[in-house]
């Protein structure tokens, strides 16, 4: 077991990535309540398993992969409970699910718009365009083929570009 000081350092590092982690969780869950629950669960798990973090690369990548896995588990549980439920786009090459207006409950209009993007697009856009992960890194975190990352980042950009028009028309 590592000394306590290392545990404290890990906790500090974990706290420093919390805002980013929460944002990533939002792209998966697309609503704040689920994102907060997911972040809490990820943090609990990360703290109990911090000895598995080798300190190489970006801490975010390790935490994000854990977040994605937990969310997939949660979706599976929900699917079993409901008997049908949603199909997770993170596991699919083809996008099929649109976020409902009710799901994307968020105050800010811009946030509402990005959270209403089809599943899987926002996460890829965040990882690649905002946080500068390579296609390979994003594919590893989301456990999807690199070709899917390529098509999703492009689709996300086109979708976001179309939102500019929607926003302008709404204002007019």
């Amino acid at each position: 077991m590592r000394p306590a000081v290392e545990s404290n350092e890990f906790r500090r590092d974990l706290v420093s990535v919390l805002p980013k982690l929460r944002r990533f969780a939002m792209t998966l869950t697309r609503n704040a309540a689920d994102a907060d629950d997911l972040v809490q669960e990820v943090c609990e798990r990360a703290i109990t398993r911090y000895h598995l973090w080798n300190g190489e690369g970006r801490l975010e990548s390790w935490i994000y992969a854990m977040t994605r896995n937990l969310w997939i588990d949660e979706i599976r549980k929900r699917r079993v409970r409901t008997g049908s439920g949603t199909v997770d786009a993170a596991e699919q090459d083809e996008l099929s699910i649109e976020a409902s207006g009710e799901k994307a409950v968020y105050a800010n209009q811009l946030q509402k718009m990005i959270l209403s993007m089809p599943e899987g697009l926002a996460s890829v856009f965040l990882l690649v365009n905002i946080e500068g992960h390579s296609y390979r890194e994003a594919a590893d975190i989301l456990k999807i083929p690199i070709g899917t990352v390529m098509s999703r980042i492009s689709t996300a950009r086109l979708r976001l570009a179309s939102m500019i028009t929607e926003t302008t028309e709404r204002r007019a």
Partner: protein, 278 residues
């Protein structure tokens, strides 16, 4: 090793070009295409516009406050108690799991309030004393939180009473009014720019308020007032008022508090640096 984009749709290829995910040969090929083909140029511009729009929207998400209770649990706890603090992410059962402890707590509060009220009414006197006691429960930190909520929303013009350009005069002015000698902390290495100062009144005492802004425009304040030395000198206490986080401590003959957005995960380090510098 970069992926080949040949044979993929134009928007996918150009997107990979934007991200630097094409090899040298393909990069040149795509640049030539962009130079001679209007449609390719239009698609590229659309993708770039989408990127810029997305950047702005995602930046907003980053500024949502992270629940301070979570921050505190991670920073301070020897381990997260799954039994007491675990929140399952299961939606259908979530309401029950979240509501029953609150309902129980609310019932207990109501019971206590009811009991206390009955006791107070039964006493038939001392009503005034009770009111005073309730009022006294409000601390100077509550006043500071209210001030911060008000002033942090002001435009640059109204953010401070005396601007940073007044320089050394600020220290003299505040020290003489508050009765606490201090040095103006330079927090530029923490990404904070000093904007100026205000003189406030909290819990009936004059309070100095130093205002800083970070690159995102978030406002941070250092407030202090004269107070007798206590047993908890130097010990930092963290608290939260909605979206505002506060870290307070006592040092020598003054009480200090650093106020900032609850989403800021480095507030504790900031408070430690300020305590050493002020």
């Amino acid at each position: 090793m970069l992926q080949s984009t040949r044979g993929l749709p134009l928007d996918v290829r150009l997107s990979a070009y934007i991200d630097g995910e094409v090899n040298e040969t393909e990069r040149k090929e795509l640049e030539q295409l962009i130079a001679r083909d209007d449609e390719a140029r239009r698609v590229l511009e659309t993708l770039q516009a989408g990127s810029s729009f997305g950047n702005k929207a995602f930046e907003e998400l980053l500024h949502d406050p992270v629940p301070l209770s979570l921050v505190r649990r991670i920073k301070q706890g020897p381990g997260v108690s799954a039994k007491t603090e675990h929140l399952a992410i299961s939606a259908p059962r979530k309401t029950k799991q979240r509501l029953w402890p609150r309902a129980l707590a609310a019932s207990l509060v109501l019971l206590l309030v009811g009991g206390s009220t009955g006791f107070i009414i039964g006493k038939t006197s001392d009503d005034e004393t009770q009111s005073v006691k309730i009022a006294a429960a409000r601390t100077w930190l509550d006043d500071i939180a209210d001030y911060h909520r008000l002033y942090a929303r002001q435009t640059a013009e109204h953010l401070v009473e005396v601007p940073a350009s007044a320089g050394g005069k600020i220290e003299g002015w505040l020290a003489s009014n508050v009765g606490v000698n201090f040095s103006l902390p330079d927090l530029s290495d923490k990404g904070l720019t000093f904007e100026g100062a205000r003189l406030l009144v909290a819990a009936g005492k004059p309070v100095a308020q130093l205002m800083y802004k970070d690159q995102d425009g978030d406002v941070f304040a250092i407030c202090f007032l004269k107070s007798p030395p206590g047993d908890t000198d130097g010990k930092m206490t963290e608290s939260m008022r909605d979206d505002i986080a506060m870290i307070s401590w006592q040092k020598n003959d003054a009480s200090y508090v650093v106020v900032g957005p609850s989403s800021d995960a480095n507030l504790h380090q900031l408070a430690t640096a300020i305590s050493a510098a002020i």
